[in-house]
Structure formats: structure tokens, C-alpha cells
């Protein structure tokens, strides 16, 4: 028996439920082809309208069962992405979503307009964990109205799938989830990294030059499963679970908790074959349980 791992999620057809998370797979050109066979899709490293150098080192630090990072959206800007990477993506056999970042609602819209229609760009993932410069640096993702405004600005400029990556640093994720659903999102990704800090006791200062960083890895998994579950209960659109997935069992937790697909990020740093192993592990599990497709997997999802 062969298990059908294909699925449709948020406007895209995928050959499997495991995607590469933004910022952990570059622009798809670094990880060897061998490791891409089981890739359901890829979300690009976050891009801005203009090039950005990123934060000074140290940018990463290991923490118990995880890591903090503050890369600072280092990237070549949207023009270079369109010129250097999109043409490659157009020939690949899995969809590539572009993770978009901006400091104002108008800028999110402008970035979307630039990318819409570019061959190779299959959809958008909005990073709403950016500071809103027009609102004194408050994060878009912490405010349902700001999150909805960004989603709407992107939605207006493209007919491609629009996914919104939710921040966990909120008091009620369901409210944000419903707000971006109403604003036209096709799917949600839950969740982005948690903000954390680590102190160097030799220097009596933070280990990261940026002071704080995003916590990822297995340390956040139970928190992420809970938040993804909360988001999935709150909306009708699909939720893509992300946060500390290292093995197939971890991915299955998110799926049973109500997610339609998953993203794998930090695990790829430790094991470049992680995505393929997780994909194969899910298929083996479904087969062992006698399920013929992903849709047969029982979901624990009491709706609010």
C-alpha cells in the first residue's frame, strides 16, 4: 500500500505536508537536490524592498534544546530576489512562497505588487512580526487591526495564495487569527519564534549583539502546538504548524492538533535531511495505522 501524501492547503497543491520554514532554507539553492525530493514546498528567507546588511555578530546562541537568533533580515532586497532566485524557482517541482517583510502597510503592498506575477513566485507568507515604524515601532502582529491591515494590503495586490505567519508573543492568538482570516488570508502559519534573551556571565551582557533574539527548536514545541491548536480552533482556513519539529512524531502532533501541514526550520540546521526524514516518517506512520491518506489522520479539533 502506498500512502497518498498529497494535499491542498491555502490555495496551493503540495506533494507532501512538510515545508521548509522561512530563514532556514535560504533561497533554496544551498541544500543539495538530494534532500529536496520530499519537500512539500519552501518559504524563502524573508525579503524586504531594499537590501539589508543584518545585525552584527554574535547573531545566534545555543540555549537548552534550542537556539536564539537575531539575523536582522539580512538580504539582497526584492530586485535581486526577482533577478537571481525566482527564475530558478520557476523550474522547480515544488512551490516557493516568498516571506515578505516591511515597516509600513503601504510598503507591504508595494513589495507584493513587485512580486505578483513573477514566474517562480507561487504565493506569499506575510511576516507580521515586524515593527510598524508609523506606529512607533509597535509590532503589526500584536494588534488585530494592524495585522488585518497588512493582510488586506497584500490581498489587494495579488490573486496568489496569501499566508500569514503569526507571532506567539500575543495574549490571545485566536483574535489575531480571526482578524487576518477576515482580511483575506488563505492560510495561517503558527507560530514564529518566541522573543528570548541569554546573558554572558563573563561579560555581564547579552550574548546576542541585538540583545534579544527569536527562540526556536524543541524548547518551544509544546508552546507552539498549543498556539497552533488555538489558531486552528479559531478559524476555518488551514493552519500550518511550525515550532520545534525535529521528527515525524513532532509533525504528527501538530497535524492531530488541527494543522493541515507543517513547516520544519531549525531541525534543518542540525540535520540537513530532516525534512525528507520527517516526510518519510509521516508516510510510514500513516501506513502502519492503515490510513490511506493524510486526510484519514484523526484530528483533535473542538471548535470554539
Amino acid at each position: 500500500m502506498t500512502v497518498d501524501m498529497g494535499l491542498a492547503v491555502g490555495g496551493l497543491k503540495l506533494r507532501g505536508p512538510v515545508l521548509a520554514a522561512s530563514g532556514t532554507f535560504g533561497y533554496g539553492t544551498e541544500v543539495p537536490l538530494l534532500e529536496r525530493r520530499a519537500l512539500g514546498g519552501m518559504v524563502s528567507k524573508g525579503i524586504l524592498l531594499r537590501p539589508r546588511a543584518g545585525t552584527p555578530p554574535p547573531r545566534i546562541v545555543e540555549t537548552p534544546s534550542g537556539m536564539l537568533n537575531a539575523i536582522g533580515l539580512q538580504g539582497p532586497g526584492v530586485d535581486a530576489l526577482i533577478r537571481d532566485y525566482a527564475p530558478l524557482w520557476a523550474s522547480w517541482d515544488f512551490p516557493v512562497l516568498v516571506n515578505i517583510n516591511a515597516e509600513s502597510v503601504a510598503e507591504y503592498g508595494e513589495l507584493t505588487a513587485r512580486l505578483d506575477g513573477v514566474p517562480g513566485v507561487a504565493g506569499f507568507e506575510i511576516n507580521i512580526s515586524c515593527p510598524n515604524v508609523e506606529q512607533g515601532g509597535l509590532y503589526f502582529g500584536n494588534d488585530p487591526r494592524a495585522a488585518a491591515a497588512v493582510t488586506e494590503a497584500v490581498r489587494k495586490r495579488t490573486r496568489l495564495p496569501v499566508w500569514v505567519k503569526l507571532t506567539p508573543m500575543v495574549t490571545e492568538i485566536g483574535g489575531i487569527a480571526r482578524a487576518v482570516e477576515s482580511a483575506g488570508a488563505d492560510a495561517l502559519c503558527a507560530v514564529n519564534t518566541f522573543v528570548g534573551m541569554s546573558i554572558d556571565l563573563n561579560a555581564n551582557k547579552p550574548r546576542l549583539s541585538f540583545r534579544t533574539g527569536g527562540l526556536s527548536g524543541p524548547a518551544i514545541r509544546p508552546l507552539a502546538v498549543h498556539l497552533a491548536h488555538q489558531a486552528a480552533r479559531a478559524v476555518r482556513i488551514p493552519v500550518i504548524g511550525v515550532g520545534g519539529i525535529m521528527r515525524a512524531e513532532d509533525a504528527l502532533e501538530f497535524l492531530v492538533a488541527g494543522c493541515t501541514a507543517v513547516q520544519v526550520g531549525t531541525a534543518t540546521f542540525v540535520n540537513p535531511r530532516a525534512i525528507a526524514e520527517i516526510h518519510d516518517g509521516i508516510a510510514a506512520y500513516l501506513e502502519l495505522r492503515g490510513y490511506s491518506s493524510l486526510a484519514d489522520l484523526p484530528r483533535y479539533l473542538a471548535r470554539d
Binding site: 555578530p57 554574535p58 545555543e62 540537513p272
Partner: protein, 234 residues
């Protein structure tokens, strides 16, 4: 300092001096990078000091134990035929890429001067494969009293590896030297952008991909942090 030998035929067959492997160690989450120290048949060696649980665990492994080894990674030293003398300058565990560098330099017909320094004679590595060998210790307990940079002669090609502070001093003296820098590292494969090396011309690139070998004058040494262990040090 201890040496660990691993059977890794594919890496042994292709590794170049200055390249590294990223090892998965028990008790820590991220892999840890190690320059390939020596190659012997199908085996590669790494040299290390126990600075935390990961390195302590690696040093206590027994023959036959398995370790996850990713490599060879990064770009190696750029050694081409032509120059007649190569000066290898290393400090402490920075000796790591030098045995392979000495081997490659000699294969190209160069005369190799090996200068190795440490804080004291106990911390000096015993490896020395050069036509001329110079030892240096900060406390004067063996050889030249002072740093490896101060003890070294000039040469057509200078290769240096050691603490970033030492490399900054090497950069002052030999702007054209090829230096192997130490950074915190995440993936080792170029995707996480965690191992940023600040460049004089502005911006950063990746120690794991474009590096870890750089032209000394290209690095912004003021912004490149010292690479410290996580453990509390005296």
C-alpha cells in the same frame, strides 16, 4: 588538547586544508564546527580542548562509537604553485588546520615555516611538520617568549589560525595573510546566516560558506567578536 580520529572515507578523499566538519555531539543541540586536523587513509582527525559537555563527550568516546559528521564544509586555504615560502602561524587550538596546510604547501614545492604559540608549554600542541619549526609561549616556558605573530618571519604566503584577537594582530602585520576565523555557527551549510563575518567593505558574509578563510585585510576586526565558550571562565 585531544585528537579524535573518525573513519570518513568520502571526506578524507576530498578535504582541503582549512575546511571543516560539523559534528553532532551528545548533550548539545547545534552541531559544532572543527577544522580537519589530519588525514590518514580513510580517517580524518579533529583536535580540540574540552570546553563544555559536547567537547568533553567527544573526547570520551570509545573506538567504534558513532558520531554524526557533516563535511567537508567551507572553502579551504588558497594555495597555488608559485610562491616559494609558506609561513604557518597558529595559536592554541588554532593549530587545527595547519598539518593539512603544511602537507599541501609542501606538495606544491614550498618551504614551510611552522610557528606555533600558546599561553604556556603545557598548552602547546606537539604536532610540528615544517622545514623550520618555531615554538612560542606567552610565559616563555618554551621557545620564543611572546606571541606566535611576533615570533614568525615573513614569507611569500602567510596562513594564520587562532583566537580572533591574534588574527587581528596578524592582519596588522600581514594584510595579505589568509586567516581562518572562529565564529558562532548554526547550520554550517549557509542557510541560517548565524556565522556572520563583518567585512571592511561593509556587510557580512558567512564563515561557513564564503569562509572560514579570509584575506586578513578584508575583515572588520573591530566588529568581529572574540569567540568565547559558554562556560563561565576565570
Amino acid at each position: 588538547m585531544g585528537v579524535v580520529s573518525m573513519e570518513a572515507p568520502e571526506i578524507a578523499a576530498t578535504v582541503r586544508a582549512g575546511q571543516f566538519v560539523n559534528l553532532g555531539l551528545a548533550g548539545v543541540f547545534l552541531r559544532r564546527p572543527f577544522s580537519v586536523y589530519r588525514v590518514d587513509g580513510d580517517c580524518i582527525e579533529v583536535v580540540l580542548k574540552a570546553v563544555g559537555v559536547g567537547t568533553a563527550g567527544l573526547l570520551s568516546m570509545l573506538p567504534g562509537d558513532l558520531v554524526s559528521c557533516l563535511g567537508p564544509l567551507g572553502a579551504g586555504f588558497d594555495l597555488t604553485a608559485g610562491p616559494r615560502t609558506a609561513v604557518l602561524v597558529s595559536g592554541g587550538v588554532g593549530v587545527a588546520p595547519m598539518p593539512l596546510a603544511a602537507r599541501e604547501a609542501r606538495a606544491l614545492g614550498m618551504r614551510v615555516t611552522w610557528v606555533h604559540g600558546a599561553r604556556s608549554s603545557e598548552e602547546l600542541c606537539s604536532e610540528a611538520d615544517g622545514d623550520v619549526v618555531i615554538w612560542a609561549t606567552d610565559d616563555g616556558s618554551r621557545g620564543f617568549a611572546g606571541t606566535a605573530v611576533d615570533a614568525a618571519p615573513d614569507g611569500d604566503v602567510v596562513l594564520a589560525c587562532g583566537p580572533n584577537r591574534m588574527l587581528a594582530a596578524a592582519a596588522e602585520r600581514w594584510p595579505e595573510a589568509q586567516v581562518a576565523v572562529e565564529t558562532y555557527m548554526g547550520c554550517g551549510t549557509g542557510v541560517c546566516l548565524g556565522c556572520a563575518v563583518p567585512l571592511k567593505r561593509g556587510g557580512y558574509d558567512r564563515a561557513c560558506k564564503e569562509g572560514p578563510i579570509y584575506r586578513a585585510a578584508d575583515i572588520d576586526w573591530v566588529t568581529l567578536p572574540a569567540h568565547l565558550p559558554y562556560a563561565i571562565t576565570a
